[in-house]
Amino acid sequence: MSILKTSKLEKRYQKTAVVDALDLAIAPGDIYGFLGPNGAGKTTTIRMLMGIIAADSGTIELFGKTRRRPTNEDKRQIGYVSQDQHFYPWMSGDDLARFVGAFYPTWDRGEFDRLTRRLELPVDRKASQLSRGMQVKLALALALAHRPALLILDEPTSGLDPLTRREFLDLIRAQAKSDGRTTFFSSHIIEDLEGTANRIGILKNGRLLYQGAPETLCREIRRVPNAPELGVPEGFTVIGADERGTLLRAPEALWPVDVGEPLELEAAFVALVRSTSRPS
């Protein structure tokens, strides 16, 4: 069963498909890393999932209900942190909590206070006086305080310093672990997802190149020295090459145990995105 599932989701701007026949499937409790280079369509996908923009075609299944576009009722069960924060600059953290809380029947002011304490956020300070890192932390506290069933984060760590990024990711992991919260998390920074996401989706030009466990991807793509001289066996696809060998992709079961060198997640992601081939 999926908490979030899309079927043939599509969004076009004029004739260009920004999101093309996207089939996502996120199970309850997943921390789903949504990877892709800049311009892959991650933010457009998330905006469709949040109902901010409508899909041209396809459906979204949220909490077991299939829709063309999420309703306000659906949105009340989602916590959302956007790529850029557009808080009212004159509002303090307290003001924002009061304002945002009014939109969620499950709002828990105690949880908000606990989160801001943990994130060491000065809630009496105006949003315009907060650093970008602080603003992202505040957005996360606001997104979590109504205890959503699904947390959607759109590249929240881009532009954050390493310490703030680490604090942020620790909180995501802790929340997922303690509350079993499903988290959908887009990024183009692979390091953010390693050790955090149990499933990933890789998007390029609006199309999903891979969806599954990150370890599986690492085992499917291997570096084989001099592979072209040996020939490419059936079921294997050459997806690139570097100075140390050829990068081949095949289902994990086809790979002999001692053949090829498994790649790190980042190398596998780069190889897959750079390849012109499509997954079967």
Binding site: M50, A54, H86, W90, D95, F99, A102, F103
Partner: protein, 627 residues
């Protein structure tokens, strides 16, 4: 959720909106005071109309700009979009909050004006409801349009300028009269006077504009997932700004230069009783609706005016419009000149059986002659002739059968005025004389002198004098200067009679004495004033004015008139002065009840109504310098 949204908007924009609303209230107050200083007879609705129209637009502009423009300029609408709140809902809440404020402003004005006028018998509940509906519909249209403009972001100023130019073009260059349509018509000059029928069409158009604009706003906010409004909300580049400045200036200049200005449609009274002929057009309409009596009055007035026009050798007199005003004393009329010399409006309680029709004719002819002369007759030399001719024409039988009561009253008025002091020099300083004795006595004196001339030197001599001075149109250039001297009434009379004006006046005054004995008893019953105004110092800079009056016989009440005067104050008229009514008592001290500043110049007079003269008699107006 709605409460939180309203609280947020109040927190964010409350101060700005409060300041704008206060300024708007100030605009209404200043404009109302300015209107009242020109015409104290206006009610609160009429006085506040012009200011309210501007104020409501100002408030609508500020509120919509803050609610919409600010949101999109700071991109905070993206924050709202992430909340469980649809765009349409967000826009509708903003529209509702702003509209509620603008309507509250309009409602507050209606309530305050109603409270101020609660004792005004003309302001019935139905009429106030109509005024309220006009104000609220205008406010809805103004706010709807301003709110929609907010979504055009950086293009809103060019759009406002282009729309204003288009409306000016339509109004000035085409047959379409913008100012008589929709919201413009609701707050035009008929606002506080048109009580007959509800302006249903204008109300519907205004509401449709308001609601339609709000609906388009919702559409615009939702179009292309809100990206259009967001894009429009971005700041204008210098190149773009330059393009619009050049495009608007060039486009407007070209269009306005290429099309001729339309001739303005003549003023007309809808469904009025018409009477035309002999170079005279008269329209009579009671605001409550046309009656058969209107046609009779229209025809009778036309006949008298046509006779006067013939006598003065005037081919065509400016049109005269008569409208009903049942709050006026039936012995009085109120006169206005229409812009662009379009005609004369005379208001009075003419359906009332006690209405003075002679006064209606005199006022209509007097002001028609002013318009016909282009205002030339107001100069000192000719003013007395202008004031006296209308009543002279009546009393000499030119306007039909002479009413004996009118003639007797005229004779009594002249004798009373003579007793106050009268000489040939008063005709040379006519404005000051009329200011001293009042309009009615002044008119009677001037008419009496003309009647004397008629009796001594023949009707033709007076007709020739009137034709030369009142009937001719003199070019408004340097020739007017020569004409003023050459055709001054005093000079013309002296030339025609071969006698000095002083001698003629002396003859006339002597002749008046011969009429005294049959009127002596009636004259003795008319109150006569003795005494003077007194200036009381209250501290270093405050001054008060009191009257020490001796009145015999004692009238029922005394009316104190006053008006502060500055260098720009034109001709004074008691109709537009401030007035205080006091019960006449044997005690002689009357307090004006207002404090003035040292150095001010104030015109004051004390008057009482005389039934025998059917007008006011006064102490004699004076200008006091408050030392």
């Amino acid at each position: 959720m709605i409460r939180a949204f309203i609280r947020k908007e109040l927190q964010q924009h409350g101060t700005y909106v409060a300041v704008a609303t206060s300024l708007a209230a100030l605009i209404v107050l200043l404009d109302a005071f300015s209107e009242l200083s020109h015409d104290p007879s206006l009610d609160a609705f009429a006085a506040g109309r012009g200011g309210l129209r501007i104020a409501l637009v100002v408030v609508a502009l500020v509120v919509s700009s803050r609610l919409v423009r600010k949101e999109y300029a700071e991109k905070t609408q993206l924050f709202l979009e992430a909340l469980p709140l649809s765009r349409a809902h967000m826009v509708l809440m903003k529209a509702g909050i702003g509209l509620a404020h603008v309507l509250a402003c309009g409602g507050a004005f209606t309530a305050i004006a109603f409270l101020v006028e609660r004792r005004n018998p003309l302001l019935t509940a139905a009429f106030v409801a109509q005024l309220g509906a006009r104000i609220l519909a205008f406010a809805t249209a103004a706010y709807g349009v301003c709110f929609l403009l907010g979504f055009f972001g950086r293009y809103r100023v060019p759009i406002v300028i282009a729309t204003a130019l288009a409306l000016i073009y339509l109004n000035d260059r085409t047959t379409f009269d913008v100012l008589r349509v929709g919201p413009f018509a609701l707050m035009d000059e008929t606002f506080a006077t048109e009580r007959g029928a509800w302006p249903a069409r204008a109300l519907l158009i205004s509401l449709a504009i308001g609601v339609g604009a709000l609906a388009v706003s919702v559409l615009l906010a939702s179009l292309r997932e809100g990206s259009l409004a967001a894009m429009l909300g971005e700041k204008m580049s210098r190149r773009e700004a330059m393009f619009f400045v050049v495009a608007i200036l060039f486009g407007a200049s070209a269009i306005f230069a290429a099309t001729p200005k339309k001739a303005r449609e003549p003023f007309t009274l809808a469904s009025a009783a018409p009477a035309e002929g002999g170079g005279v057009r008269v329209r009579v309409a009671d605001l409550a609706g046309r009656t058969e009596a209107d046609q009779t009055i229209a025809e009778s007035l036309r006949t008298s005016l046509a006779a006067a026009a013939r006598a003065l050798d005037i081919a065509e007199l400016p049109p005269v419009f008569v409208t009903g005003r049942d709050d006026l004393d039936p012995a009085l009329v109120e006169v206005d000149l229409l812009p662009d010399n379009e005609g004369v409006i005379v208001r009075g309680d003419y359906p009332n059986p006690r209405f003075d029709r002679t006064r209606l004719f005199c006022a209509a002819l007097h002001h028609a002659l002013v318009l016909h002369s282009g205002g030339r007759l107001f100069i000192e030399e000719t003013h007395w002739l202008l004031d006296g001719f209308s009543r002279y024409f009546v009393l000499s039988g030119g306007a039909g059968e002479i009413d004996g009561a009118v003639r007797d009253r005229g004779a009594l008025r002249v004798l009373y005025a003579k007793d106050l002091g009268l000489s040939a020099q008063d005709f040379d300083r006519w404005s000051a004389y009329r200011e001293r004795v009042g309009d009615d006595l002044g008119e009677a004196v001037a008419a009496s002198l003309l009647l004397h001339l008629r009796e001594r030197y023949g009707e033709a001599s007076v007709t020739a004098l009137a034709r030369t001075v009142l009937g001719r149109q003199v070019p408004k250039d340097f020739r007017a200067l020569f004409d003023r001297r050459r055709n001054a009434p005093r000079r013309l009379i002296e030339a025609a009679t071969k006698r000095s004006f002083e001698a003629i006046v002396a003859d006339w005054l002597a002749a008046l004495e011969l009429t005294r004995s049959p009127l002596a008893a009636a004259l003795a019953r008319i109150p006569r004033f003795a005494g003077a105004p007194r200036i009381d110092a209250r501290g270093k800079s405050d001054r008060q004015i009191r009257f020490d009056l001796a009145l015999a016989p004692l009238p029922r009440r005394v009316r104190l008139y006053y008006q502060t005067i500055d260098p720009l104050t034109g001709e004074l008229s008691r109709e537009t002065m401030r007035r205080v009514d006091k019960v006449a008592t044997a005690a002689s001290d009357y307090d004006l009840g207002e404090t003035f500043q040292r150095g001010q110049v104030v015109f004051v007079d004390a008057a009482a109504h005389s039934d025998a003269l059917d007008c006011e008699v006064s102490l004699g107006g004076r200008r006091l310098v408050l030392e």
